[in-house]
């Protein structure tokens, strides 16, 4: 039954909880303890569309090798939810462990021969120790964390340090929580052999890295980038991005003398209004942004077209989730690629950025505002639920304190004064970017009426077809200019070029790199490129051209990214092989390898 091989720093723990019972913070403390032991880990929260009562899971993958993608094959399940017990027993790998509340006996139908059961009478301990029902519930979480810490060899000093930091602002709670941890610790010590064959050992593998989610990183990035207006409408999984902006703005953006806010956050009546406010604020010279998810993108599409045609800088964060309705949309996907790339009516194309890590979220969030103002067009930062809401191990944030915001081509009073005849849509520099003016700058020069179409280079009303065409050609030139300044794709390959390549973006980075290693172990070498922005640069085109076949890995059903490559770069579709995952869970390396291998055999044959 018991697997005798000892696995150090390489396993997956899954917590099965009931939503709304306070388990999330206990689980986070567990994960943070592993991080503070210097061991790379990644945590995924699988949560329902529910506030209280439905099952929720939390997965922690520990990887000495530093693999930060999700992995199938759970080594230990800590089941605190009778509703999901049957399923949870089934998810344990043979030889793995099932930790459960043994206050009541486990029904024999849940007994498997090939796994180990560790019963802890958690409720019984709580009933004995606590009288308040809420306390019983909350401390039960700490009891199982303490028990697992002992089973997995987590350093108790580290865990207690995490608890002390967590309750820094409520120090009265520190001792009771540590007490509850010890209830779990002591029960294991008295009743079981410990540590288990899967266990932790201290390492020094995380350096000065941080653990943070992408939404928070984007919110902080927006503050450093000088964004002053945030308009939004609540939607999972993007809400916490605005929450983070608000939280840090209320610390970092208060005028010291007056106590007034150097920022404005407005919760709009819907996403149409949110994007309208963002466009209005940007039009009037402030840096403004909104964040949303798929349904919000649909609603914002009309306005996005206006911003494209009227050439108004706009920053939009899209934290992607699965399709319509309530429920599955609390799961991750990369399925708004086409909806965002071509959002709106008429001939529209938008610049997309694809961050892969919290650090990149921070940087791309800041860069998005520079790019938006430089290019006077919407910039959509494409996160997904996994990146936005889950904690990731990330390089720490860095910033150049001498950074000057790139406000793009904006004419000030003196420049307008010197202007003979101002034309809002003239392409003086032949880069497709015109000079803009902001209301209130000059008493007699630079004013015009902003419209989507139907105007000439001087913003005068016209319905002449040739003027429309001239402007569309200017927008095409701007698109080419964009290719020169957007983030370049990154290569992940040794100097030797192989015949086969893989392309991916966003959170697929981690499982893709792991998949490369797995394939390499099997003697299969693949080149790899991570695309960081749309439009596609020459480097992307070259990469595809240099390979006979390219696997395009993405987390949606319709291979939307592949369609975009085929369409924009005029690629023979047969050359691009789809590797897809769209069940709402972050894609795994195994999932990629399983799909690649059969293709690979046929290609080689």
């Amino acid at each position: 039954m018991s697997n005798n091989t000892i696995k150090i720093n390489d396993f997956v723990i899954r917590f099965a909880n009931v939503n709304g019972t306070g388990s999330a913070s206990a689980n986070t403390m567990f994960a943070l303890s592993i991080f503070r032991m210097g061991v790379p880990m990644t945590a995924k929260n699988v949560f329902p569309s529910n506030i209280q009562g439905l099952p929720t899971w939390y997965e922690v993958r520990v990887s000495e090798k530093g693999y930060l993608g999700r992995r199938e094959g759970v080594n230990l399940v800590a089941c605190l939810n009778p509703q999901s017990l049957a399923k949870d027993v089934a998810t344990v790998m043979p030889g793995g462990y099932f930790v459960f509340d043994s206050t009541k006996n486990l029904h024999k139908e849940f007994l498997r021969e090939d796994i180990n059961y560790i019963g802890i009478p958690m409720m019984e301990i709580c009933m004995r120790e606590y009288t308040d029902p809420r306390m019983r519930q909350l401390f039960k979480n700490m009891i199982y964390v303490g028990a697992l810490a002992t089973l997995l060899n987590i350093d108790l000093d580290v865990l207690n340090g995490v608890i002390s930091d967590e309750f820094k602002k409520k120090p009265k709670l520190i001792d009771p929580n540590i007490y509850a941890i010890n209830l779990g610790v002591n029960y294991i010590k008295a009743n079981y052999d410990y540590p288990l064959n899967i266990r932790l050992e201290k390492r020094n593998l995380v350096g000065n890295k941080i653990v943070i989610n992408g939404n928070t990183a984007c919110g902080i990035g927006a503050i450093y980038a000088g964004a002053t207006v945030a308009a939004w409408y609540p939607i999972t999984p993007s809400t916490s991005l605005i929450d983070a902006y608000g939280k840090y703005a209320s610390k970092l953006r208060i005028d010291k003398e007056t106590g007034l806010n150097k920022f404005a956050i407005v919760q709009a009546e819907d996403e149409l209004s949110a994007i309208g406010m963002v466009i209005g604020a940007n039009w009037n010279g402030a840096r403004a942004f909104t964040s949303t998810s798929g349904p919000g993108i649909s609603l914002m599409s009309e306005f996005l077209g206006l911003a494209y045609f009227a050439e108004i800088s706009t920053v939009l964060f899209n934290v992607q989730r699965t399709g319509p309705s309530t429920g599955m949309p609390t799961r991750t996907q990369q399925s708004d690629i086409l909806a965002c790339a071509y959002a709106s009516h008429g001939d529209t194309k938008h610049i997309l950025l694809f961050p892969s890590s919290p650090k990149e979220c921070f940087e791309m969030s800041a860069d998005a505002f520079d790019l938006a103002e430089r290019l006077q067009t919407p910039i959509i930062v494409m996160l997904d639920l996994d990146l936005g809401m889950n904690d990731h191990l990330s390089e720490p944030f860095e910033w150049d304190e001498n950074r000057i915001y790139d406000r793009g081509k904006v004419l000030n009073t003196e420049e307008l004064e010197a202007c003979v005849q101002y034309g809002r849509y003239l392409d003086l520099d032949k880069d497709g970017i015109s000079y803009r003016t902001i209301a209130g700058t000059h008493p007699t020069k630079g004013a015009f009426v902003t419209r989507g179409t139907s105007r000439d280079e001087y913003a005068k009303y016209t319905e002449q077809g040739e003027e429309y065409v001239k402007n569309m050609e200017k927008l095409t030139r701007k698109w080419e200019t964009a290719k020169k300044i957007i983030p370049e794709a990154e290569l992940y390959q040794s100097s030797s070029n192989h015949k086969i390549g893989m392309l991916f973006f966003g959170t697929t980075l981690y499982p893709a790199l792991e998949a490369m290693d797995i394939l390499k172990d099997q003697g299969i070498q693949i080149d790899a490129m991570r695309i960081r922005a749309f439009p596609f640069t020459k480097a992307v085109d070259d990469f595809i051209n240099q390979h006979d076949y390219v696997f395009v890995i993405e987390q949606n059903r319709d291979a939307q990214f592949r369609s975009l490559l085929v369409n924009e770069l005029d690629i023979n579709p047969k050359k691009l092989i789809k590797i897809l995952n769209y069940d709402g869970m972050p894609v795994t390396a195994d999932c990629i390898v399983e799909q690649i291998l059969p293709n690979f055999e046929s290609i080689l044959a």
Partner: protein, 350 residues
């Protein structure tokens, strides 16, 4: 048909206190139908801004889509304008105002733009008490798409094609009152004497100032049987009172009989002298104003004039406590936190 407006003006054209002549407040020539009520409103806006001596470039004019929303091109050429998305002017105006609280915001919308597609935004911009003047050029029909009934068309009103409107009309004035708008007025495009002082008062008001202006559509809704025709409106207009707008710099004298006049001080120090034709009505009392609206509705009258004003009104910026300095004027120095702050953030996540 559109024409280029000749740039020539009489050299002795009088100028206002800031030295601007009326020409400095004009726009390009209108492309609306001859006799359109909207053009009279554009004229009134030009006159009001000229007389108020507002610097034209300190005004931003915003609109949605429709005949009414085309008009910002026809007034205030030296002001930035934004002809935005159908029904979405309020959100664009909100964003613009958040970026720079120091400009005067003039929003122009129509009955389709505000009472149908943009109803949600109309409601919520009132709720936020955005500091702006919001004009609805209300003609009860969709002009640009050739005369369909709009949501403000009265039940039983006859269209040009002879069909009767089956649905209840939405009264934007009553709605604005219910929603707590801090300045509510109704006027008629054909009554410049009433409209100009109302526009001035609205622009001096701090907070959301709403003017519903009945503005007949000469082409599609000026027929016998329509309740938005010139003739019908003239016959059924009932005025609460006449209004004098006294800019704050003038000496304020009240020479009206107590009881039938009321002086109302505006946020910028200007004064409104109201000569009340209805003694039961108190324009600073929401209940009393609502009562007047209901009574005139029962009598089938179109109530015009300043209906309600909240002198204590603040605005969105006060509610969300934004700094007095316009957000769009803040620079790296005021906006960018330090490296130490960032290191603390990193440390908090270890």
């Amino acid at each position: 048909m559109s024409y280029i407006k000749p740039p020539f003006r009489h050299p002795d054209l009088p100028s206002n206190e800031l030295g601007y002549s009326k020409k400095d407040y004009e726009g390009t020539i209108s492309t609306l139908c001859a006799g359109c009520g909207h053009d009279s409103i554009s004229g009134a806006i030009v006159q009001a801004c000229y007389e108020m001596s507002v610097e034209p470039h300190r005004i931003a004019k915003l609109s949605g889509i429709g005949c009414s929303s085309k008009t910002p091109a026809y007034f205030l050429n030296n002001s930035h304008g934004f002809n935005s998305v159908h029904g979405r002017m309020p959100s664009v105006a909100t964003g613009a105002n958040l970026a720079n609280r120091d400009l005067l915001y003039l929003g122009v919308s129509g009955d389709g733009d505000s009472a149908s597609i943009g109803m949600g935004q109309f409601v919520h911009v009132i709720r936020r008490n955005l500091n702006m003047t919001y004009i609805v050029m209300n003609n009860g029909c969709y002009g640009l798409t050739k005369g369909q009934d709009s949501a403000t068309a009265d039940e039983g009103s006859l269209s040009k094609g002879g069909s009767t409107n089956l649905f209840q009309g939405i009264d934007l004035v009553g709605l604005a009152m219910e929603l707590g708008a801090s300045f509510v007025a109704r006027s008629f495009s054909g009554d410049k004497n009433q409209l100009i002082p109302l526009l001035k008062a609205a622009m001096s008001h701090k907070g959301f100032a709403f003017i519903d202006i009945i503005s007949p559509c000469v082409t599609f809704n000026n027929n016998v049987g329509s309740t938005k025709s010139y003739d019908y409106v003239r016959d059924h207009m009932e005025t609460l009172g006449t209004l004098d707008f006294v800019p704050y710099k003038n000496e304020i004298t009240l020479d009206y009989q107590a009881g039938d006049s009321k002086a109302v001080q505006l946020h910028d120090g200007s004064m409104l002298n109201l000569h009340k034709l209805n003694l039961e009505w108190d324009p600073t009392n929401r209940k009393s104003a609502l009562e007047q609206i209901n009574q005139s509705k029962d009598k089938g009258e179109i109530l015009t004039g300043l209906i309600y004003i909240d002198q204590e009104s603040t605005d969105l910026h006060s509610l969300i406590k934004t700094t007095k300095q316009p957000l769009n004027s803040l620079t790296e120095k005021e906006l960018m936190p330090s490296l130490t702050d960032l290191e603390l953030i990193n440390e908090d996540h270890r």
